[in-house]
């Protein structure tokens, strides 16, 4: 198809139009209005960097970024370790392999909102009942402190996401040639050595994908946050996405919220691009 051919452009029109109107126009429009006193309908004054300057003083916003980073780090480590563990488990030649995959993956089909509500019940009622039955006091009062709120979010995320990441590791583990493992076994490598020296290097690209997915997922998380803690107690478990939402649709501070959204975009984009860059470099070095 040639550039000048009508059909080339006709084939592209629906998606180009929707992408432009839904993503790029709002993105540029929002970027412009983040420098004004826009209230969602109109802007009367150009304010320069005033909204951005205010952000630096906004404790709730800064602490939501900090909370999100802590959450992302804990999630990345746990989701990837457990996801890889589950993948190694279900790629053993055991009868239940398929059922296990189905079970571990299942939470990913259900919306974050519903999962968050289910776990609210688990943490508040079931944990309490377990604690009473076993005499463990630490299991009572979950989600009522910022610490249990944090770990509640992490546990929910690991439970949901480990099965997803497992699927990715499985795809790579199953592409490791059987002869290679057999040869290693003949040479006397035990199962740990077979994993570390044979499988691990071949699975390396899966880390690129998994780290990237876990990280961007952690940054954009909203539904689970809303359903599990709704940011409480006292906004201490509020993540960035929720902080932006609340500024816009609870405090109706549109221009200010959009300034946060711009910063949020830069954070997500920088993280994503850095990761792609480093992982590509590492793969080449290997």
């Amino acid at each position: 198809m040639k550039n000048r051919s009508v059909s080339f452009w006709l084939f592209l029109t629906p998606t180009l139009l929707s992408l432009a109107l839904v993503v790029f126009v709002p993105f540029i429009y929002g970027f412009f209005y983040s420098f004004t006193d826009w209230n969602g309908l109109k802007a009367t004054e150009f304010m320069g960097l005033a909204n951005y300057a205010e952000l630096l003083q906004d404790e709730a916003f800064l602490s939501s970024i900090w909370f999100t980073i802590k959450f992302a780090v804990a999630s990345i480590i746990l989701v990837n370790i457990i996801g890889l563990g589950l993948a190694l488990l279900v790629t053993q030649k055991i009868k239940s392999s398929n059922i296990l995959r189905t079970v571990f993956f299942m939470p990913n089909l259900i919306g974050g909102l519903i999962l968050g509500f289910i776990w609210q019940f688990i943490f508040i009622s079931a944990f309490d009942a377990f604690g009473n039955a076993l005499g463990i006091e630490a299991l009572s009062g979950w989600l009522s402190t910022s610490e249990t709120g944090f770990w509640g979010m992490v546990i929910l995320n690991v439970w949901q996401y480990a099965g997803y990441i497992m699927i990715i590791y499985i795809a790579y583990l199953e592409s490791v040639p059987e002869e290679l493992l057999e040869a290693a076994e003949m040479d006397g490598a035990n199962s740990f050595k077979r994993f570390w020296n044979v499988k691990f290097p071949l699975v390396a690209p899966a880390f690129t994908i998994s780290l990237f997915l876990t990280l961007s997922n952690a940054f954009k998380l909203y539904d689970q946050n809303l359903a599990l803690t709704n940011g409480g107690p006292f906004r201490s478990t509020e993540m960035v996405a929720m902080n932006i939402y609340n500024s816009a649709f609870k405090e109706y501070d549109m221009a200010y919220a959009q300034a946060k959204a711009v910063i949020f975009f830069i954070l997500v984009a920088v993280v994503a691009l850095t990761q792609v860059y480093y992982n590509k470099k590492r793969e080449v070095d290997l």
């Binding site: 198809m1 550039n3 051919s5 080339f8 084939f11 592209l12 998606t15 180009l16 929707s18 992408l19 109107l21 839904v22 993503v23 126009v25 709002p26 993105f27 929002g30 969602g40 309908l41 488990l89 055991i94 239940s96 059922i99 296990l100 189905t102 571990f104 939470p107 990913n108 089909l109 259900i110 974050g112 519903i114 509500f117 289910i118 019940f121 688990i122 009622s125 009942a129 377990f130 039955a133 439970w159 099965g163 997803y164 699927i167 990715i168 795809a171 954009k220 909203y222 809303l226 939402y245 816009a248 649709f249 549109m254 919220a257 959204a261 711009v262 949020f264 975009f265 997500v268 984009a269």
Partner: protein
């Protein structure tokens, strides 16, 4: 050999224990949805002493379940259909044109995936509100905008294995681009269409935030009604859990019948 078999037994047992642990939240949700309020209070972990179905009846009514289900179904199916039709067209056009403009446009679609929803959410709602498009039609159009990038990326990749000589042969036979695409190429893209369908339907069916900003009460989907329902019955767990169980049933039924395709689709979407 004996040692190997014992190892397998140990691994199998660990697997089953982990699976039970993974399922335990669902177990607790289901058993408690059959208890009375008092029943939950006195016994959270065990089976109900007396089974009650009243919770489900009330949840079904308060969730406006039939209506919400039909709304979710309509929006998901229409959105996914137009995403498949239009993204495959775009993926085909971009893959068959090797010019700089075509490559540049492809990069634009890929770059759009970097922009998180929250970065465009506020102006998007404001702009669509101005032209009176905060309704199911507007929502479906938004899903096309947010869903097309990844879908085009997948179709573009799949086109690599469909030789251009097919197009040329059909052109000689007198077919135009439109006919070539729908009669020859689109049927060959079926495996990737299944992947695109699965990835988008999981996301759109479960989406809460975007419809919460776009839809009014009479068009509400399951997640929206779930949110209001849950807020209404905070701490009335017997009702809340019955509602949650109801909301999950359709997903579990589909998963039961299509688990192989679903897991394959998700794998292809993530790995490519």
């Amino acid at each position: 050999m004996k040692k190997k078999r014992r190892n397998k037994l140990v691994i199998g047992t660990i697997g089953i224990l982990l699976a039970l642990l993974w399922l335990s939240p669902f177990y607790l949700m289901v058993v408690n949805s059959f208890k009375t309020k008092k029943g939950i209070f006195s016994n959270v972990l065990g089976l109900p002493e007396e089974w009650t179905f009243v919770n489900f009846k009330q949840a079904f009514i308060d969730l406006d379940f039939v209506n919400a289900f039909m709304n979710s179904l309509f929006i998901s199916l229409v959105s996914v259909t137009i995403i498949i039709l239009f993204s495959s067209m775009a993926g085909y056009a971009l893959a068959r044109n090797k010019s700089k403009i075509s490559n540049g446009l492809f990069m634009v679609f890929v770059a759009a995936m970097l922009i998180p929803f929250q970065s465009v959410m506020i102006p998007l709602i404001s702009l669509f509100g101005k032209v009176d498009m905060l309704n199911p039609g507007g929502l479906i159009f938004m899903y096309l905008g947010f869903g097309c990038s990844l879908s085009i990326f997948l179709y573009h990749g799949a086109m690599a294995s469909i030789p251009a000589s097919l197009d040329e042969a059909a052109t000689i036979d007198g077919a135009n681009k439109w006919q070539i695409f729908w009669k020859i190429i689109f049927p060959m893209l079926k495996p990737i269409s299944v992947t695109v369908m699965i990835l988008n339907i999981i996301w759109i069916w479960n989406d809460y935030l975007l419809p919460s900003l776009v839809l009014s009460a009479e068009n509400a989907t399951i997640p929206l009604n779930m949110f209001f329902f849950f807020g209404q019955y905070t701490k009335q767990w017997h009702l809340a859990l019955a509602g949650l169980t109801l909301a999950i049933i359709p997903i579990i039924i589909v998963y039961f019948f299509a688990q192989k395709q679903i897991i394959k689709g998700v794998t292809d979407g993530a790995v490519k």
